[in-house]
Assembly symmetry: C3
Homo-oligomer: 349 residues x 3
């Protein structure tokens, strides 16, 4: 196995996005696997979102085939009911409950349009550490949202996001442009992530930005992000007419610019599959549903290009190689993150 898909490239003591709020309902439980753990997600009739292990404590039937009831969920094989904390609440034809019959409970936070779960030691779970996404409730921004199920190790998906050197090669006709290849990236390490700056000065706009920005000439464009360990990218991007000094100005004050904020949250399903949740906010035409769809279509087209490449890479790595991977200068950010993760990672289940 190559170091590109280390089995241990997972941090368990962390918050991961597990679902969109609208996916977790009182009607039907949702089964979702995270870090190899099968979870059942549901919302009580009282409105509380809950994550438990998706195995009944009795004989391990999936609780996701169960029935949501007030205060908990009932296994529909033999009728054992569990509370929102995974304690046994009822066993049919058995008057006293079984104090040891409980299922694993996962701390859960619902915030700013995401549902997060804590996959590690529950005593370390601190809801205040869940990332803010202030764009969610800011009327100056309008979101487009999407989800991809990627058949690749999370590490390879993270590599892809951490390296904008691939844009001119994978995305020359969508979110990248051939002329971007020559520009370098500034990378600053943080305690739990990196900050990167990548500006392209006096270049043609990418096809995506041209289609929604209608620029007359060249632009100054940027991709600047903060990476949060293990795997959330919070990215500013945009294009402004060249000569307007966009780089020196603050967000919202750039003349003729289109600006975006993007959150990409990567959640390992297991060593071969990754949940990929993204939101792409824009600061223009915020009331226009057609623009929401246009942004969605452009982002999804570009991410499909990434998905094809990363899945092929994953399959190639899994089948083995005569060749050890070697870093190039463009790999600076991803190499930093690989090292940070390696220090904190524990074995995936």
């Amino acid at each position: 196995m190559s170091e590109l898909t280390p089995e241990k490239f997972f941090i368990r003591d962390a918050w991961y996005v597990v679902a969109w709020p609208h996916e977790v309902t009182s009607d039907k439980p949702l089964a979702r696997t995270v870090l190899g753990d099968d979870l059942v997600l549901f919302r009580t009739p009282e409105g509380q979102a809950v994550a438990l292990e998706d195995r009944c404590a009795h004989r391990l039937a999936p609780l996701s085939m169960g029935r949501i009831e007030s205060g908990g969920i009932r296994c529909m094989y033999h009728g054992v009911k569990f509370s929102v904390t995974g304690q046994c609440a009822e066993i049919p034809a058995q008057p006293a409950g079984h104090p040891n019959m409980c299922v694993k409970h996962y701390p859960l936070v619902e915030k700013d349009g995401f549902i997060w779960v804590w996959m590690g030691n529950a005593t370390l779970a601190d809801p205040s550490q869940v990332m803010d996404a202030p764009w969610h409730s800011d009327p100056r921004w309008a979101p487009s949202r999407g989800y991809l199920h990627v058949k690749a190790h999370m590490g390879l998906v993270a590599d892809n996001l951490l390296d904008f050197g691939h844009l001119p090669f994978v995305h020359p006709n969508t979110v990248g442009a051939v002329e971007q290849a020559a520009f370098a990236t500034e990378v600053k390490p943080l305690a739990d992530g990196v900050l990167t700056d990548r500006w392209y000065v006096d270049v043609p706009a990418s096809r995506f930005h041209q289609s929604v920005g209608n620029f007359k000439g060249n632009v100054d464009a940027w991709h600047c992000f903060r990476w949060h360990l293990p795997a959330v990218m919070s990215l500013d991007s945009g294009s402004a007419p060249t000569g307007t000094g966009a780089r020196e100005k603050a967000h919202g004050t750039r003349e003729g610019a289109i600006e975006f904020h993007h959150i990409a949250a990567l959640t390992p399903q297991d060593g071969d599959h990754t949940h990929y949740f993204w939101v792409h906010w824009r600061n223009f035409d915020v009331q226009d549903p057609t623009m929401t769809q246009t942004v969605y279509d452009n982002i999804m087209m570009a991410f499909s290009e990434d998905k094809a490449m990363v899945e092929a890479q994953h399959a190639a790595v899994r089948r083995g190689s005569h060749t050890a991977p070697k870093a190039i200068m463009a790999d600076k950010a991803l190499t930093m993150i690989r090292h940070q993760v390696a220090k904190r990672a524990t074995g995936a289940s």
Copy 2:
């Protein structure tokens, strides 16, 4: 691996139902896998049903691609022929046979509408131990027959049959009823199985029994079975109008009752798949082919409910768990059988 699907949960020295008699013909060999062994089943032109290993002794081509001939079967790769006991009968262009070139032979009994094979030490195979099914030739009973291929370990399918506590939860709209949840089961251990009695007094009839029995009011209903190791259930069931004293009366003398006898024969294909042969005899409308179909449809609908749950449970168990299974009071019969099997089981191949 959880104890719910122990790899060794197989008894080899036992008779297993392998096929219906009509499946084993002189026209075309039948390939079927039992306890991990690939068998070829065929009937000689003289009428004898035969089970051999489905591998030619020459170069292991499947005999199930071969040709049935008088006295045996010929491999159609290079023409080697084997007798009904697996001895080599002919090698093309090689005058003398090869005395050591034989394939494994499995003892076989055809009786009361089932074909049984012995999977263990052939010297211990006693045809007189093959279970009787007297309903097969009794004109007072009419059968409906079915087969399911279940993607689950045989142990989980057996658990399902051994525990009638699941009826009100899995089958509330078919063969069970919500009102049955409160009734307990009497369980008596035997040397090679268990006897259980489960009576539901003064309850609404299950949807199935109501549809064929047309009861005016509540019924006394019953599920009473004898389990034969490893995995044959012989079950009496029925419903009678409440107040007619059905429980104290013998079969056939209960007023207004409908009565059934059921045989479920479970045969492991391997650690992940189970052959499930069943016959459901009734003591009414025995000449009516429409009723035969109605009974079949009702039983198959209920068994499809079981199949969905057991297959989901098997998949969940196979993927692993943070949770060890824990017994409840309703598990008494299945726990007894689990212990009996564990004592006698040998490794599956």
Copy 3:
């Protein structure tokens, strides 16, 4: 695992047919796996056919998703370019190349209508050892060509070709005939293969030969081949009217005969799959495209019969057996080759 599919039944230091010349183009790279190695095959705009490992040296993305350029191929993930010998030719935004960033290069020969690669130690690769196929450029012969992807270990496909005893059983209605079963095969060992002679005297023509040869009565027919290690068969076959002394005469001088030359080149993909390239030349109707198709159809029909049997045999062997394979007299040639291969084989990757 049975000795019928030994994992080590592969010789790496050898030339293998990897593709037809027309498959290797300048438009799009071709991905093909040989002996477990993933190769990318392409033709430079200058016309040179090239085989490299199908992994970029940077982060192992498949080069078969790359772009063919003058003098080499460029990975379309991050733009690293490799020369025809696998050396790094360019890294974007990185002025000096990386001297150690190279991918494995496989020696390749294009000759007589086949593309061959050397899978072992490149310093031992001798292009002069690549087999001649003079029929390719001889106007007296006309080819039909085909390819099969067989889901079986190469050893089992080779066994099939090395043993003509299967013709009357697998192919009684195509290229074989029941009457052939009685004839023996002369087998002579060589240093790196075997020579076999099999003549059937005064028998009905096979259905194939009858359909293209229109014989009035019985024929003398033959299958005589030279096997080249590891796995190329070069076969003469044909039919001539009985009584014309065909066996004593040289090719091309037999009265009323139809004659064929056949090359079958077997290339292991991995331990469970085999690439099977074949050419069947005929010495009659050489200008007739309808006859080319007729020959193709007949050969493919027969090889489909082999494929079904060999794939079933492979699956049966892989699932295990109670029975060890045993040789019969007809196995002489295949036993010789098995021994020769075992002596030279190294572990498959």
